[in-house]
């Protein structure tokens, strides 16, 4: 294994994980000196009764949430962020709690920017390193095992007026605390379980193979890939198994820490473009593109894919060459994706996902301007991206 001559690693989040971990929410809030938090969530989470589980931790304390905003849409939007920020100010809140998937967690990050910077213009902070001060206390409680937003320094928020997705990256965007409680993911439907799980797997594989990898992020990426590959089908099939759900949560969070430091590559660049142009859900786009891009990167990354394969499947003694190990890993991931299709209908191709072939050129063009493309181990041009998209189409 070749290590970088220099690297940086930063992950300042307290992780509170395990059975009934959400019961410690009040304690963690007090540790952050908060008395009046605002809870942000979506209708699905609130209808599943998960907010009550979190609020139950306030029993016998003088802490009470200032309110619960449960109307975050599937794609977090700047309008919603502005609305929640005004509620936060009006109710004089002093912390944020986000309970939900990536959209909810990213919405809370956007709200935190506005209330901490005392601004109404989120656009002013879009991009990299635009924040100059630490933000308000923020606790993230994921209800999916996928985005890893509970441990990352990034957020994506849609701006419907300008028809763009605004990206935010800053070391100040990390939540203070991430609470991983399997109970909070039990109600996640099979298709979402599989799609978000494949998103997390993509984080792990790309973090382990992209140019910014380092020994610390590698450790997180390797364990997370093993946890996800071993459990994603079981979690999709037996969603009420708390232990399997907990393993998946751990896998997604570790992958989040890995990619927040090592970043990601062409799978994400193309998936972001598929999301922007064709509105394909991120996890589904990643799931379809992952084996295709791995095949494209194999000349540069065979050794790394092989290392990952041997770590996850140590009993397979048939692999002697790096190229064999790499091909086995790609094949395993493809098989997992096919099994998930059988279990819950997860699309295996762009065609199955509803992408129209005439959009592929636009997607390819958007993908090469995505930030993730720079650190892919193999160079990707417009023609390369288009060729991968065509391979993934059917």
């Amino acid at each position: 294994m070749r290590y970088p001559e220099y690297y940086e690693f930063f992950s300042p989040i307290k992780i509170v994980a395990g059975k009934k971990a959400v019961g410690n929410l009040a304690f963690e809030l007090r540790a952050l000196n908060s008395e009046k938090p605002l809870i942000i969530t979506d209708k699905g989470v609130s209808n599943a009764g998960l907010i009550q589980k979190a609020v139950n931790s306030f029993d016998n304390t003088n802490l009470r949430p200032a309110g619960v905003y449960d109307d975050v849409p599937q794609d977090s939007s700047v309008r919603v962020v502005n609305k929640i920020a005004s509620i936060y100010r009006e109710k004089k809140c002093d912390a944020l709690i986000a309970i939900g998937g990536g959209s909810v967690l990213d919405t809370a990050k956007g709200v935190n920017i506005l209330v901490s910077e005392d601004s109404n213009d989120l656009m002013k902070f879009t991009g990299v390193n635009r924040l100059e001060h630490p933000l308000r206390p923020y606790i993230a409680i994921p209800t999916t095992a996928g985005t890893g937003s509970e441990v990352t320094s990034a957020a994506v928020i849609a701006n419907p007026e300008k028809n763009i997705k605004m990206g935010f990256t800053s070391p100040f965007l990390y939540p203070n605390t991430a609470i991983l409680d399997p109970e909070m993911t039990l109600t996640l439907p099979p298709k979402l379980t599989s799609a978000t799980g494949m998103d997390a797997l993509t984080h792990a594989v790309e973090a382990y193979t992209c140019l910014q990898k380092n020994p610390v992020s590698d450790s997180y990426a390797m364990i997370s890939a093993k946890l996800i590959l071993e459990n994603i089908e079981k979690a999709t099939e037996k969603g009420n198994d708390r232990y399997i759900r907990f393993l998946m949560l751990n896998g997604a969070t570790l992958a989040g820490i890995a990619f927040s430091n090592a970043l990601v590559g062409a799978v994400h660049a193309i998936a972001h473009a598929l999301g922007g142009v064709c509105h394909i859900p991120h996890g589904i786009a990643n799931s379809i593109m992952l084996p295709v891009v791995m095949g494209y990167n194999i000349n540069k990354s065979a050794k790394l894919y092989s290392e990952m394969y041997r770590f996850i499947y140590p009993n397979d003694k048939t692999v002697t060459k790096d190229e064999e190990g790499a091909k086995h890993l790609i094949e395993k991931i493809r098989n997992v994706s096919f099994n998930l299709h059988k279990l819950c209908g997860l699309p295996r191709s762009l065609k199955e996902a509803g992408v129209s072939k005439d959009k592929l050129e636009e997607v390819a063009q958007a993908s090469i301007n995505d930030g993730s493309i720079v650190l892919n181990p193999e160079k990707v041009t417009y023609e390369d991206s288009l060729s991968m998209l065509n391979k993934a189409f059917e």
């Binding site: 970088p4 001559e5 220099y6 690297y7 940086e8 879009t126 991009g127 990299v128 390193n129 635009r130 990206g167 990256t169 992209c210 140019l211 910014q212 970043l263 540069k300 090469i368 301007n369 995505d370 930030g371 493309i373 720079v374 650190l375 181990p377 193999e378 160079k379």
Partner: protein, 186 residues
Amino acid sequence: MPDTVKELTLKNYAPKKKWFKRGLVKIILYILVKELKGLSKWDTTIKKEIENWDDKTILLSVHENGPSVRVEKKGDGINFIKSPVQNPDISIYFKNVNVAFPTLLGRKSIAKAFSENAVELRGLINDAIVFIRVMEAVEAILFPGFLQNKIFIRKPKFSWGRIGLRAIAYIKAIPFFVMGIFYKSK
């Protein structure tokens, strides 16, 4: 035990001045953006990259107080700006002169500099990606083949046009070098 504490004498350390490296980085930055200005009119790759770009300002600097240069994309080309720019659209900061040195001399790729966190970016990522590709196109012209193996994941294809542009760029680099010595980076 005596109840008086022996008076401590604190030693004074001052940072060593890196005059040579800083001066050379300033000159290279100056040559680079002056060459970029010229090449943006002639090189088809650069012209294609910037044709759909809105007008914007870009700052290239070694940390906040080190040598810096500013350029603007205006109309069809890229211009060098002498005066300071308030809130540039893209700011690319090398963290210190030691990490700027190998990147500007073609001993380290721009992607590697980013992957080692040697560079801090401020601004929109999509814009920065286009600018990185523009700078890579400039490197493909300025740096000879033996250096390109180290700085490109995939070496650019040989082209006579690029060789011609390289020859012109090298001739222009001589006066740019002299002007760079006198350039006051603000």
